[in-house]
Symmetry: C2
Subunit: 307 residues, 2 copies
């Protein structure tokens, strides 16, 4: 695991707990020391960690912000070029482009576990973070099926379900259900705080929950959102359009019927999906003819890889 | 308690639990029967309930949607004109205007407990709903101090803290920290669901929390939001302005720095306020010279009435 923050640290803990050998790199000595103090194998010497990974034919997981890739990937390409490589970064198009630039022969399969808190760092990590979570895996026509299996096994071992998807479909999806909610949370928090001290004193559940993710460290939010610029611009524009239409309706006819009905129906659809057992992907194995397209098709129907 | 939904039902349960005599009216027989089945005194005969309230000199609490007031208030004025009257409706200007229209001599003090869930009805009610909650009380220069004390005692008896405020300041505040978060939750939910099934499958904490209140019954959301039209229009316009500025920044410079920094700072201010013990209002009693203005001033500094 390269990077022992919330995600990488949780991954290290979950992997060691199921009896696998795992070791980590962290740039700051404080983070590495915290991991060692908890009994984990962590180092600040990137070259040494990568040489060890190469010697062990380890699976390498990049769990650092997307902004670190231009520095990190060339080192991986130099010291551990044959290792299967994945990442847990919340955008996939930008990571795939960086891999193509710096490590074009990588046995790379991108990943994105849909788990997190507004806290960050090793101190917030825990081995149960991924239990029951969805974990997107890059599933393109050229994806190496053996590497895909290896990364899928890592996710399954952490208790997650694997969602196969193309990178661009993933990036549009997370713009809508993760990056946009960060922007609306930030806007709502700012408007509330700017209103009055009375407003913050009266703030209750709707404000508390609706602004929670604005508590995430600004640098992490920015790295995540700005790396998904194009998809986020589209979904943000659609959101603005809906809010402008709601404002016009409210001003002209005193009604918020459309936005409330649309939003309520959408929330019920989400709740129904979130509370129904997820059907498994069936009838196809990685490496079989047309496997990636078939996996993506079943993924779009809401199925997950559960083996 | 007139209306035995989430708020009125919880109020009935909390009041009875502390040993007071309390009884309720509910329009639907189903709701009244549910309350009776749980051992509470509930009826569907409004006239009988109001005659009993008048005979007992009861404190009357209106806990029905704002849209019922034009029907309810004239009946109260006719059958129980001398009773102290309050309400728990989430807007105060519209309620005060309806009281002035239909029951101008009422000993009325508006109230708004900042408690709720996305569920509604008697089945969602419970006596602990108001524990630790803020409970705004209309505190205008002409407010009757004895009626104010009576309503404050009701709120304190439910475990809430009393926040004195003028009606217009309250309505602006809740537009920002309650009604706007409903609109952003609805817009976010609708955009997410419209994206793809993949998006809803990948939805995790930020979407779940950020859209929670979109699960509230549409009729309740509409009644609440539409009754606060002017204040909501202002705060919604400010939100749109912030999101448009963020879109322009993201498009032109690839940065979301301003909205993320503003939002993060606001969220930290809210968290600091929510986790610090609330200082009490001191040095003034209801009925003393200039008491309402002094109460409001301390309320704006974040103090609450805790006696």
């Amino acid at each position: 695991m390269l990077g022992l923050g919330l995600i990488g640290g949780s991954l290290l803990q979950a992997t060691v707990r199921r009896g696998r050998t795992a070791f980590g790199y962290n740039r700051s000595e404080a983070g590495a020391a915290a991991a060692r103090a908890d009994g984990f194998d962590a180092d600040t010497d990137l070259d040494a960690v990568l040489r060890r990974a190469a010697a062990d034919d380890a699976l390498i997981v990049v769990s650092t912000p997307v902004t670190t890739l231009d520095e990190l990937l060339p080192t991986i390409a130099r010291l551990a070029p044959g290792c299967v490589l994945t990442d847990v970064i919340s955008v996939k198009g930008a990571v795939a482009a960086a891999v193509a630039r710096h490590h074009p022969d990588a046995r790379y399969v991108g990943g994105h576990p849909m788990a997190g808190t507004s806290q960050s760092g090793w101190s917030a990590a825990g081995p149960d973070l991924f239990a029951g979570a969805m974990w997107m895996l890059t599933t393109e026509d050229h994806t190496d099926p053996d590497a895909w299996r290896a990364v899928a096994a890592l996710a399954r071992g952490c208790g997650a379900q694997v969602v196969p998807a193309a990178n661009d479909a993933h990036d549009r999806a997370v713009a809508a259900i993760s990056h946009l909610p960060h922007l609306t949370a930030n806007a709502t928090a700012a408007v509330g705080a700017a209103e009055s001290g009375l407003a913050l004193r009266l703030a209750a559940g709707s404000f508390r929950d609706g602004t929670r993710v604005a508590g995430t460290a600004p640098a992490l939010q920015r790295a995540m959102l700005e790396a998904n610029r194009i998809a986020l611009l589209n979904t943000l524009s659609e959101t603005i359009d809906r809010l402008v239409a709601a404002r016009d309706d409210l001003r002209d006819s005193g009604s918020v019927e459309i936005i409330v009905d649309d939003g309520h129906r959408a929330r019920l659809a989400y709740e129904a999906m979130a509370t129904t057992p997820v059907p498994p992907i069936v009838g196809i194995e990685p490496g079989e003819a047309d496997w990636a397209a078939q996996m993506r098709r079943q993924g779009h129907l809401g199925r997950t890889w559960q083996r």
